[in-house]
C-alpha cells in the first residue's frame, strides 16, 4: 500500500530500471504492468495529450520534467476531416510515462477522462512519485538510455527501438487524402503529427499523405512536405531518394524535424547525434543574418551538420543555446526545412508563419 496521497492509495509500487543499472522507485498508474523502451525527457510544462500522441516518441519512455501531470485530464477523441482533432495521432505513441506527481483528480471543461484511464485504455504504464529532475540529469549526462518500467509481479526484457526502422512503423501503410484544394501537397509521413495536416488544409491545400518510402515519381503535385518522425534519419534512404527526385523536378519542398534531416541528407549534407538533444518547448532559434528570433518546440537527438552543407545551400536558422543548425534553405528559395516544429502542439506558435511561406511557394 502506498501513502503517496489520499487518492493514490490504490496505486502499487513500481520502478524504472535504466541500462546502467540505476533504479528509480515510484507508483504505477495507467496500465498496471511492465514496459520497455528508450528513456527520453521533455521539459515542456503543458501539452501531455499532444506529446504522448506525437509519433516521434514511438518506442520511447517519456520523462516529464514538469512535476505536475494530469491536471486537466484528457479531451475526447474527435474526428475532423478524417483526422483526430484533439491529438497528434490516433493513439498513444510512448511505451511509458514517468512523472513526479500524477494528479489523480483532474479539472477541465474539455476533459473526458483521466490520464490514468487513457493510459489504461492504450495499455501504457505510467510511473509517478519519481525524482524526475535527478533522472533527467542522469539522462542528460549519459545520453538517452534504455529503460524498463516493472512491477513486482511482471518484468520485461530490454527493448531498443533504435534497432528498428521506426519511421516505417510510425508511417501509414497506404496513401490517404485530406481536404480539397486546387493545389496538392504531398506529405511524406515519417510519423507525421496531425497538426501539420491541419495547417496545410487551413491554407486551402489538398493533402495527400503517403508512406515514408512511397514512389512519388508518377505523382503530380505542387508541393512536398516531409514530416517529423522518430529515430535516425539515416535509416530512411528510400525517402532521401524520393526527396532528391522531387528537388530535381523543382517542386517546392518543406521539411520539419526528421523531414529537415532528410532534406539535408538529400542535399548531400551529413547528420550526427547531439550530445544534449533538444527536448523542450522553449528552444530559442535565430534566423541567420537577421535579428529575428523565435521560441520553438523541439524533440530531436540528431542534427544537421552545418559545415557539410553543399554550395547553393545555406543555414537558415541556428539554435541560440548551442549554435547547432535549426534550418536550411536552398538559394533558389524553393527547398527549405526546419529542425523545430512550426506546427507546435504542444508548444509556442511563433513559427506558424512558415506554413504561410510554404503556401506562397506552392501557390507561386
Amino acid at each position: 500500500m502506498s501513502f503517496n496521497n489520499g487518492n493514490e492509495a490504490s496505486f502499487q509500487s513500481g520502478h524504472l530500471t535504466l541500462e546502467d543499472g540505476s533504479v528509480f522507485e515510484g507508483y504505477v498508474f495507467g496500465k498496471n504492468g511492465a514496459s520497455a523502451g528508450e528513456v527520453v525527457f521533455n521539459t515542456g510544462m503543458v501539452g501531455y495529450p499532444d506529446t504522448l500522441t506525437d509519433p516521434s516518441y514511438l518506442g520511447q519512455i517519456l520523462v516529464m520534467t514538469y512535476p505536475l501531470v494530469g491536471n486537466y485530464g484528457i479531451p475526447p477523441h474527435k474526428q475532423m476531416s478524417n483526422l483526430e482533432r484533439n491529438f497528434e495521432s490516433s493513439r498513444i505513441q510512448v511505451k511509458g510515462l514517468i512523472v513526479s506527481d500524477y494528479s489523480t483528480d483532474y479539472s477541465h471543461w474539455h476533459a473526458e477522462k483521466s490520464l490514468d484511464r487513457w493510459l489504461k485504455d492504450y495499455g501504457v504504464p505510467g510511473l509517478t512519485g519519481v525524482d524526475t529532475r535527478a533522472l533527467t540529469k542522469k539522462l542528460r549526462a549519459s545520453g538517452t538510455m534504455l529503460g524498463k518500467i516493472e512491477i513486482k509481479r511482471e518484468s520485461v526484457d530490454w527493448y531498443n527501438p533504435n534497432l528498428e526502422n521506426l519511421v516505417a512503423t510510425a508511417s501509414i501503410d497506404a496513401p490517404e487524402t485530406y481536404g480539397e484544394g486546387k493545389k496538392t501537397v504531398v506529405l511524406i509521413d515519417c510519423g507525421a503529427k496531425n497538426n501539420i495536416i491541419h495547417h496545410l488544409m487551413k491554407r486551402g491545400f489538398k493533402v495527400v499523405r503517403v508512406p515514408w518510402d512511397y514512389d512519388l515519381s508518377k505523382m503530380q503535385f505542387d508541393g512536398l512536405m516531409i514530416s517529423n518522425g522518430p529515430g535516425d534519419p539515416k535509416m530512411c534512404r528510400p525517402t532521401v531518394a524520393q526527396i532528391q527526385e522531387t528537388i530535381a523536378r523543382d517542386i517546392p519542398v518543406f521539411g520539419i524535424c526528421m523531414g529537415h534531416q532528410l532534406l539535408a541528407l538529400a542535399a548531400g549534407a551529413d547528420t550526427y547525434k547531439l550530445k544534449y538533444g533538444h527536448r523542450s518547448q522553449n528552444q530559442p532559434v535565430l534566423e541567420v543574418g537577421t535579428n529575428h528570433c523565435l521560441v520553438t518546440s523541439q524533440n530531436h537527438g540528431f542534427a544537421v551538420d552545418d559545415r557539410s552543407l553543399p554550395k547553393d545551400w545555406s543555414p537558415w536558422f541556428i539554435n541560440l543555446n548551442d549554435q547547432t543548425n535549426e534550418g536550411i534553405r536552398h538559394k533558389s528559395g524553393r527547398f527549405m526545412s526546419v529542425q523545430f516544429h512550426p506546427e507546435a502542439m504542444p508548444g509556442p506558435v511563433d513559427a506558424e508563419y512558415l506554413f504561410d511561406e510554404f503556401a506562397r511557394m506552392v501557390n507561386g
Binding site: 515542456g44 499532444d50 523542450s280
Partner: protein
Amino acid sequence: MDIKNNEIIKPEKVVVLGSAALKIGEAGEFDYSGSQAIKALKEEGIHTVLINPNIATIQTSEHLADKVYFLPVTAEFVEKVIAKEKPDGILLSFGGQTALNCGLELSRKGVFEKYNVQVLGSPIQAVIDTEDREIFAQRLDEIGASSARSQAAESVDEAIKIAESLGFPVIIRIAYALGGLGSGVCRSREEVETLARKALSYTPQILVEEYLEGWKEIEYEVMRDQYNNCITICNMENFDPMGIHTGESIVVAPSQTLSNREYHLLREVAIKVIRHLGIVGECNIQYALDPKSEQYRIIEVNARLSRSSALASKATGYPLAFIAAKLALGYGLHNLPNAITRVTTAFFEPSLDYVVVKIPRWDLKKFRMVSREIGSSMKSVGEVMAIGRKFEEALQKALRMLETGAQGLVANSGFEFEDLEKELINPTEERVFAIVEAMESGMDVDNIHRLSHIDKWFLYKIANVVEIEKQLKKSTGDKLPPALLKTAKQMGFSDKQIAIITGSTQRSVREWRHRHNIRPFIRQIDTLGAEYPAQTNYLYLSYNGIADEIEYPIDRSVMILGSGCYRIGSSVEFDWCCVNAGYALRKMGYHTVMLNYNPETVSTDYDEFDKLFFDEIRLETVLEIYHKLKTIGVVVSMGGQIPNNLAMELDEAGLHVLGTSPDKIDSAENRDSFSQMLDDMNIKQPQWKRLHTLDAAKDFANDVGYPVLVRPSYVLSGAAMAVAANDEQLSQYLQRAVKISPDHPTVISKFLENAKEIEMDAVAQNGEIVAYAISEHVENAGVHSGDATLVIPPQRTYLETIRQVREISTKIAEALHINGPFNIQFIAKENEVMVIECNLRASRSFPFVSKIMGQNFIDIATRAIMGHRVEKNEARLFELDYVGVKAPQFSFTRLQGADPTLGVEMASTGEVACLGNDFEEAFLKALLSVGFKMPVKSVLLSTGSIESKAEMLEATRLLMKQGIKFYATEGTAKFMQSNGIPAEKLYWPLEEGQPNTIDYIKAGKIDLVVNIPKNSQKEELTNGYLIRRTAVDFDVPLITNRQVAMRFAQTLSRIGVEDLQIKSWSEYLEK
C-alpha cells in the same frame, strides 16, 4: 526614442524614478526592479541619478546610483532635478505606478522636450495606450483581441446608464490606478452610485465593465526588444477566480489547469498585443478565461515592471528587471547573456520543474472598523512565495511563511467561521482555511466550487492534505509509520504540524524523522528543467527528491536569516540590513548564505549572496540547511522580529547563533525579565507590573492611575499593544494580549502623557558601544515608533536628556554584553529619562540613521558580530549641519472603513526620509513625499479637548498670518473666534445642519484636515471618525496628531515649496 535605427543607445546620464514609500499596492518589489535597472545601467558605464525618498531601500545605497535625491517623486521635483542634472535619458517603468504617473505628467508638461531627455524603453504613447481604458480597448480591437465589454464614464449618471446597459453585476475600475484602487463590483444601481462617486473624486474618468464572475484569472509576463523579438517569461494562474484582485489572490506559477491550446492561445495574444502597442522592455498582461470554453478577455496591460513581474522573476530565476533595462538601451534579447547558465542568451523562456505558490499577507486585524472582505481592490501589505515539487507542499509552506499563526492548511487553531457558506461566497483573508473547515465538516468539492468558483483542481489538492491529516490522526507521535511520515513531509507538513496532529512534540517528530533518515534535499532552480548543465546558487528544500544538488559542507559559510514577508512593522528596511550584512560578510571573506522567502526583496536576488535558499525561516528548515552546509553560525539580528524570535530555539537545538547571545536576547524581549533587570540597575522605567490576575491588574492600574499601557512580549509593531483608559478597556485589551502571545508574559505599565520619545540606534562589541545615533520623535509618546516622525540629529531634546540616554545605553550594552546592533526606546519628561523598550537586533531606523550619518551601521555591526575588531566611531551626530526627517506613509485610502488615527499599535505601511538644511525643510520635503499637497489655502480644524485647543492656538495664529481660510467644527470654531481667529463653522457629520463638514471635504473645498481625536481608543462610529474617513476617502491630507499639526503650521509660516533645495544625498554629506 527612435527604435528604427537599431542601435544601442548609450546615454551619458540617466534619471531613474523610484516608487517612494511602500504602500498597499506598491511595496518592496520596486526596490528590486529599480536596483536591477541601476545595476544594468552601471554595467554600461552610464551615470545614474535616482530620485526616491524611500531611504530604507537598497537602491538608495551608496554603492548603486551615482547620485541619490531623497525627494518626492512628483513632476515638480523631478523637473527641478532634471534642470539641475541635465540627464539625456530617463527610466519611468521601474518605480511602479508612482513613477509612471509622474512620467506621464512630465510628458504632458513637455518637460522631456524642454530639457531634451529621452524616455528609454516603452514610448510614452504605449504607456498612454495601456493606461487610458478607452484607448486601450480601441487598440485591442484593432488586432481583434478581446477585452471586457466596457465603457468609460465621467459622471455618476453616465456610470449608472452604462451599468444598466451592460447588465448587473458590473465592475467599476479607475484609470491610472495602482493596485485596483477604488474599484469594486456593483450588483445594483445604488452600489454603482456610491462607488462611482467615490472613484470620481480621485480621477476624472472611470470604467464600467462587464463582470466575469467565476472566470479564471491568468497573467503572462512578456518581454519585447526593439527587433520585435518577444518572449513570455512565465504565466501565472490565480487560485481565486475573477473578482479578486491579483494582488489579493493566491497565485500559482506556472498555470495548472490550462491545456496546451489555452496556454498558447493566451501567449500568442500577449505577444500580439505587446507588439501592437510597441512596448520595449517588460509588460504584464492579465486575462480572464472562461472556465467552460476558450473564450478570454484581456483585463489589463501594465507597461512597466510590476508586482507580478517581480514574482515571475523570482519564480523562474529570470532577471526580468535587469534585462528590461538593457532592452531599453536598445539591446536585443539574443545579444544578452542568460545570467543563470552564462552560456546561453536572454532570449529563452524558462521551463520550471517545480511549482510556485504566492500568498498575499494582510494585516487587516490591525485596523479598527476595516472591512475584511477581499475583492477587486488591494488591501494586502506583502506576499510570500513558496517553492515545491507538489502543489500541496508549496501551498502549506506558503501558509506558514505568512507568520499569521497557521501551521499549514490543517492543524490550525484560531480560525473560526460563523457562516462557512458566506465565507466561501464572500471571501476574507482567511478563505483558504474556510475551505479546509468546509471539507472537514463534510462539504464536497463540487459544493465548495459552486460557492467559491475556485477551480476544482485546487480544491482536490487541498482535499489531499485533509486526507493525510486524517491518516496522521490515527497514529500517535512515536509510532508514526515512516512511510506515512515521509508522505506527509512530501505534502508539505511541518514537524510541528505533524506533532500537533499526532499529539507529540516538534522535537520528537524531528528525532523520529531523522532516525528514519527522512531528510529534505537541496534542489536547484536553473530556468531550464535540467535540460542543460547550469551552475546556479538559487536553491530550495524539498522532500520530493532523492538527491542533493550542491556539494557540502561549505567552508567559512555564514547563514543570514532574512526578514520574511513584508507586513506592517517589518518591510524593506530589514531587507536593507540583511543585504548589507551580506556585503560585509563577503568583504570579510565569508561564504554568504541567505534564507528568505519574500519575492519582493533584493535579498532574494540570487547574485547578492553566494547561496540563496528560497524557503521557510523556521527552526526545522534552518536546522537542515545548517547541518548540511556546516555553517559557522547563523545571523539572526538583521531580519527583524522573525529571525530574532528564533534565537532561543536555535540555541536550544545546538546551533551557533552569531552576535549577542540568545539568552540575552531573551532577557531583553521578555518584558518581565527586562523590567526586572532595569530595576536592578536603577534605570528608570514607567511603573510596571506583570499580569497574574485581572483583579491584580486593575488594582495596579488604579494605583498608578489610568491610562496604562498593555504590552505582550515578543511582538513586532506593537501588535495587541494598547492604552487603557479605564477598567473595562483594561480587561478587554488584556484578553487580546494573552491571545496573541500566550507563551510569553504580558506586562502593564503606567502610560505617561505628554512625554517625548527618543530612540537610540547603536552597535556594540563585547558590551561596549562602538557606534550610535540618537533621534527624537516629533509626536509625543503614545504613537508607535514606526508611525512616528523621526528627526536626526535631535532638535528639541535637552543636552542633559541626551547625556542620560547615552549613559543608560552604555549600561545596558554592558549588562547584556551586546555584540551587534541594538535599539533602545526612551521617553523623557522634564529631563527624567526612562526606558520603554530594548531590541537586541537592527531596528527599522538603521538604514535611516546610517544614511543620514553617512556611516553604515550594518557594516559595523556585522564586523562586531563576527568578532572582527571594530574601532570606536567618534560620534559626529551633533556636528551634522543638516537635518534628516523620517515620515510615515499610511495606506488608509485602501483600507475601506479603517479609522485613520495613530496609536501604540503600528498602522503605517512605509516611510520616507528627506534631508534639509534645517528641520522645516526636511520635514516639508518628507510630508510632500508621503502625499501632502501644497499650497494649503483652507484648513478644517477640530482640535479635540480644551487643553489641546489651547495648545493649538499659537499654531493656528501662524496659519492665519499666511492668509489661510479656516473652517472648524462647533467647539473649535467658538474657541477660535473667542481668541480672535476667524473660522467658519461647519456642522458635524451626524448633525443635520448645513454647511456640513462632509460636504465641504467631498466638494474639494478643504486642502487640509486637522482632526485631533479626544480619545484615541474609542471604537464606535463617531463624528470624528466620519471626518477622518471622508478626508482619506477623498484624498485630502489629514493630520491627527497635535505635535505634527503644530510643527506643520510653524513650517508653513517659515518656508514654502519654492524654498526647498534640490540637493543630492552626497551634496549634504560632503559639506
